[in-house]
């Protein structure tokens, strides 16, 4: 870990302003991802702006019956919130499927969205990695890829986004609200928030430098059966091999996002037209462009089978 300077931001504007002044600055929220990466010098901020004192830790109804979730709401509190549990059960289920109780107590909404990949080569500074070291190459290609992405992958990177929460938010059509360093506010639909690797896998989100997430907004409740199914090698405390977040309506229509397969929560709205035909049709459309490796080809059938189980559960 490199030495860094540290400040506690007193307001959102001050946080954005501090970030504007220092191109190496990073916000720190729960620190559960950032600090681990700093210890390995995968992240090397020279300045940390602690945003934990900014409030932004409430969950409130919006004017159009949606829900505004503060950027600093802890994953534990979000999962336990009564409204979330009642109207957005998918989100609650996804959250508790992630990490551990202790980590969820620290982890925040914004931090969770921005957590970085778990590709093992990304974590080993001796290995070439385009995401860690742009242009250095990708050691994972041709190596150990069982956990890595099968769709939306590029010649430069096969990594996945590891969040559970984000997959549920993608299925729920969340919108990310931000403030830029110049104070301008904007909203980013979650579909556009995370990026595919392309040839710049180090650029992972639509955020600009110093752009600060203030909240995530969920639209008004959509009802339906809300199921989050996370598949993994051990029963807890492991990232998803594949996860399926689904909102299934009584008529068989619905929304489905898949985790563990791509550089972002994977959802293709057009593919959802196939949903009433069943898991095979839906998965074929959703993963039509998949380019798996020998080691992770199983994720294709795993996605289909998991979705199949989710659909039967929704019917049941």
């Amino acid at each position: 870990m490199r030495a860094f300077t540290y400040e506690r931001a007193s307001s959102v504007e001050a946080a954005a302003g501090a970030a504007a002044q220092n191109p190496d600055a990073k916000f720190i929220a729960g620190g559960t991802n950032l600090l681990d990466l700093m210890k390995l010098e995968i992240e090397k901020p020279s300045h940390l702006i602690d945003v934990n004192g900014l409030g932004l830790d409430t969950i409130e109804k919006t004017q159009d019956d949606g829900l505004r979730i503060g950027a600093l709401v802890r994953n534990t509190d979000l999962a336990a919130d009564g409204t979330v549990r009642r109207d957005y059960g998918l989100l609650s289920r996804a959250l508790v499927a992630g990490a551990s109780g202790q980590l969820r107590n620290k982890a925040t909404t914004a931090g969770n969205l921005l957590q970085r990949t778990r590709c093992p080569y990304f974590y080993d500074p001796n290995q070439a990695c385009n995401k860690r070291n742009p242009g250095s190459g990708c050691s994972a290609i041709g190596g150990i890829t069982r956990q890595l992405g099968v769709v939306g992958v590029s010649e430069a990177c096969l990594a996945t986004h590891p969040s559970d929460m984000a997959v549920a938010m993608r299925a729920l059509d969340a919108v990310v609200e931000t403030v830029k360093t110049d104070g301008a506010k904007r909203t980013i639909p979650i579909a556009d928030f995370h990026r595919l690797p392309g040839d710049t896998p180090h650029i992972e989100s639509a955020l600009e430098h110093g752009e600060f997430i203030t909240s995530v907004v969920l639209p008004s409740p959509v009802g339906g059966k809300q199921i989050y199914r996370k598949v993994r090698d051990r029963a807890s405390y492991a990232f998803a091999l594949v996860s399926v977040a689904a909102v299934i309506q009584p008529d068989g229509s619905g929304k489905v996002a898949v985790g563990g397969v791509a550089h972002k929560p994977w959802r293709i709205e057009a593919a959802e037209a196939e949903l009433p035909k069943g898991a095979h049709a839906m998965t074929s459309a959703l993963l039509a462009d998949a380019r798996p490796t020998e080691q992770n080809r199983f994720k294709i059938s795993l996605t289909e089978r998991t979705l199949g189980a989710v659909l039967s559960e929704a019917k049941g």
């Binding site: 490199r2 150990i144 051990r234 405390y237 089978r305 189980a309």
Partner: protein
């Protein structure tokens, strides 16, 4: 004391303290955080500095240069010791890979330098500034690819055995199996990382470390540092797990010593978690071929087991065929091991080396044979039980109750409820049961102890024995209490200090039986000293209730000790009984699993182990060992695998996020039953090892349960869902 004849009645047989469920005497220290582990020794008067190791970025080759200019200038840096600075060092006798020194890189994350600074954070930051240049060389990293080049290892490893005419018997057998099984490289993944503090005083050094074997470390430390063993003082009273990963001297101790010498201050060095799996040792992967031939009635006529594994030059094979020489009868037999040269990190002992991976394969093969024969797998095992060493029939087992374990286990587990493969469903779960035999040899090691009696009647045991979480403190206290006729509360136990008599140490499940036998021997000496001081005839002296009694004379122990106290010291040594008699431990593992019909995720529902392991010295600590081992076996069956990058030659998933050991949610109800038995051939304690038995066979029982649940036979561990998914029934 020479243990040459089977034990007869002795004071241990009173079982007033030994055999009782005594709570860990060090438990309170541990639960209150006062048990000090290696890195935690802290004397506020000492100016500790912190060393951070730098691991090689290549798997094989040469270091050409190390540029430490930037690191030297970093804040807080006190010194840097590089492999090039120290040059080639003499390698410890028990190490295969060089730990440190010189330009040759033998494996990934071999330490190339240690950076020492005022704080841990400064040392870590400066370590990242080191620039190391290498000339990489091509290495061999793929066991499968190297199989053809594998050779029969050194005869000292007893690589081959053969009885009768295996080939002829196998080719004419009515029912045969010929299958290949694989087990992956595995990491010990113990909780406490390797860590040491070294402090020099003139030419003497004290090292606080985390070691299973004090004397082995001390010897190899002295060799590596080129110093007199007598000038090395090693301390390791508490160890946060080892599983074999701390049997042999490790680099943290060497680095701490060099670093402390370089900066003239005591230095702490811990291996960062991501360095552990590639820097230290691991259980090597195996490829195994098993052939079994039997008559239609289930009698085995031919049994053959071959195993391929790899290691660095000078290393040894994973002895995965050993149990097959002893576990089942059969007139025609062969075993063979082949060793390939691999440039991966050093392969070496991990809990139940040999038997653990060997039984992972053999006990699936036995399940497969039973099915071919249309026999219940327990019946098949019973049919082929043997009371003698099948390669050497004049050599009986000292005591063997595999049948008892299997029968009792079957009854308790409800084995008769087992259904045909792939026929039991509960909702989305396909349910199955599996069984496997557990088998692990009982090894014995010389073990010394010193037992003191003081003027207050307190008995203090001193031995360099270690407690790696196993309960050594407690069973040693129980042994001394039984021998001296006092309660455990009157016994103090001091372990893990090289100033104490050399003990068996902790490994190979020899620790408990050997070390308590050493304490027994020392207590016999102390009893003699007391009797002789009191002028009692030692043959008819009774030690009970804190008193020494002879005829109608009764003296309190405290009084007998007098102001100067009394001491007994001895070492237990072992005669021919391990040669004349095969000493082993046995068990039956029973497992029920559910396999998710959609995803192929396997979740264990219940586990039972029935163990026949001689006298159980303490049912609480013994049970802990067995359930811990069953948990490890669950990891081995379902998730643990060091993934080898065969291009760059290293284990890729080198942290605890990537190397998945079981978590609580993976482990269901576990039950352990100990057979009520003693083995007088094994030791005066009549006990045997149990710390590794619980791991032996359990992974195969899980594999067999998965087969019973799904009808899918997976012969390649770990049995992850990707190995099942293509054959699972359609769900859509």
């Amino acid at each position: 004391m020479q243990f040459e004849k089977p034990a007869t009645t002795n004071p241990i047989d009173q079982l007033k303290v030994v055999g009782k469920p005594v709570q860990r005497i060090d438990g309170e220290l541990k639960t209150t955080g006062r048990a000090r582990y290696a890195y935690e020794w802290h004397d506020p008067n000492l100016p500790y500095a912190y060393g951070y190791p730098v691991g090689s970025a290549i798997a094989k080759g040469q270091i050409t240069s190390i540029d430490s200019a930037a690191a030297k200038k970093a804040p807080g840096v006190l010194g840097i010791v590089t492999a090039l600075d120290v040059g080639n060092l003499q390698k410890g006798k028990l190490n295969t890979a060089n730990l440190f020194g010189g330009s040759v890189i033998q494996h990934y994350h071999q330490v190339v330098a240690v950076v020492v600074a005022e704080t841990f954070e400064q040392a870590r930051a400066a370590a990242a500034l080191l620039k190391v240049d290498y000339v990489p060389e091509k290495g061999a990293f793929d066991l499968r690819a190297e199989m053809a080049n594998a050779k029969t290892p050194d005869p000292s490893t007893e690589p081959e055995s053969s009885v009768g005419d295996f080939e002829a018997a196998f080719s004419t057998a009515a029912v045969t199996l010929d299958a290949e099984y694989t087990t992956p490289d595995q990491s010990h993944a113990m909780m406490e990382p390797h860590a040491s503090i070294a402090a020099w005083d003139g030419d003497e050094v004290t090292v606080w470390t985390s070691s299973q074997m004090i004397d082995w470390w001390r010897s190899d430390f002295a060799i590596t540092l080129g110093m007199d063993k007598e000038k090395v003082h090693l301390m390791s009273p508490f160890i946060g797990g080892g599983f074999g990963g701390k049997l042999f001297l490790r680099v943290d101790a060497v680095l701490a010593a060099f670093a402390a010498n370089a900066v003239g201050r005591p230095v702490k060095v811990a291996l960062p978690r991501p360095m552990i799996s590639n820097n230290t040792t691991h259980r090597p992967a195996t490829i195994q071929r098993i052939r079994i031939g039997a008559e239609r009635d289930g009698k085995i006529t031919a049994i053959g087991h071959e195993s391929w594994s790899g290691d660095l030059p000078g290393g040894g094979p994973e002895t995965a065929v050993m149990q097959t020489r002893l576990l089942y009868a059969g007139e025609n037999r062969m075993t063979a091991m082949k060793l390939a040269t691999l440039d991966l990190p050093e392969g070496n002992a991990m809990r139940a080396p040999g038997e653990a991976p060997g039984l992972m394969a053999l006990e699936i093969a036995i399940d497969e044979m039973s099915e071919k024969l249309g026999m219940d797998p327990i019946e098949f095992r019973i049919k082929n039980d043997t009371l003698v060493d099948p390669e050497n029939p004049e050599r009986p087992f000292s005591h063997r109750d595999l049948i008892g374990c299997l029968k009792l286990g079957a009854e308790k587990f409800g084995w008769d409820q087992r259904k045909n493969p792939a026929t039991r469903r509960e909702g989305n779960w396909m349910i199955g049961m599996g069984v496997a035999a557990a088998f692990r040899n009982n090894l014995v090691m010389p073990s010394g102890a010193r037992v003191k009696l003081d003027k207050d009647g307190i008995v203090t045991v001193e031995t360099d024995m270690t407690d790696i979480g196993t309960g050594s403190y407690t069973i040693i206290a129980q042994t001394a209490a039984e021998m001296m006729g006092v309660g455990v509360d009157r016994v103090a136990v001091q372990l893990g200090d090289s100033r104490f008599p050399v003990s068996a140490g902790s490994g190979g499940q020899f620790g408990a039986n050997s070390a308590t036998s050493g304490v027994y021997a020392a207590c016999v000496k102390l009893r003699e000293a007391i009797a002789s001081k009191l002028g009692f005839n030692s043959a008819d002296v009774l030690f009970e209730d804190g008193e020494v009694k002879s005829g109608n004379r009764v003296v309190r122990l405290a009084e007998a000790a007098g102001v100067d106290g009394l001491v007994g010291e001895d070492t237990i040594e072992w005669g021919e009984l391990t040669k004349t008699h095969q000493q082993s431990t046995f068990g039956g593992h029973f497992v029920e699993v559910g396999v998710d019909v959609a995803t192929g995720e396997t979740r264990i529902r219940r586990m039972l182990a029935v163990c026949a392991a001689g006298r159980i010295l303490n049912p609480i600590t013994a049970r802990s060992q067995v359930i811990g081992a069953m948990t490890m076996g669950a990891g081995g069956a379902l998730s643990e695998e060091l993934a080898v990058d065969t291009r760059h030659g290293f284990f890729v998933n080198h942290d605890l996020a990537g190397y998945e050991v079981p978590v609580h949610a993976d482990i269901p109800h576990q039950e352990v039953i100990f057979m009520d038995e003693t083995d007088p051939y094994s030791s005066p304690m009549k006990a045997k090892g149990v710390g590794e038995l619980g791991l032996c066979g359990v992974s195969a029982a899980i594999a067999n349960a998965i087969y019973n649940a799904t009808g899918i036979r997976v012969r390649h561990y770990p049995i992850t869902l990707d190995k099942l998914i293509d054959e699972l029934p359609n769900v859509a």
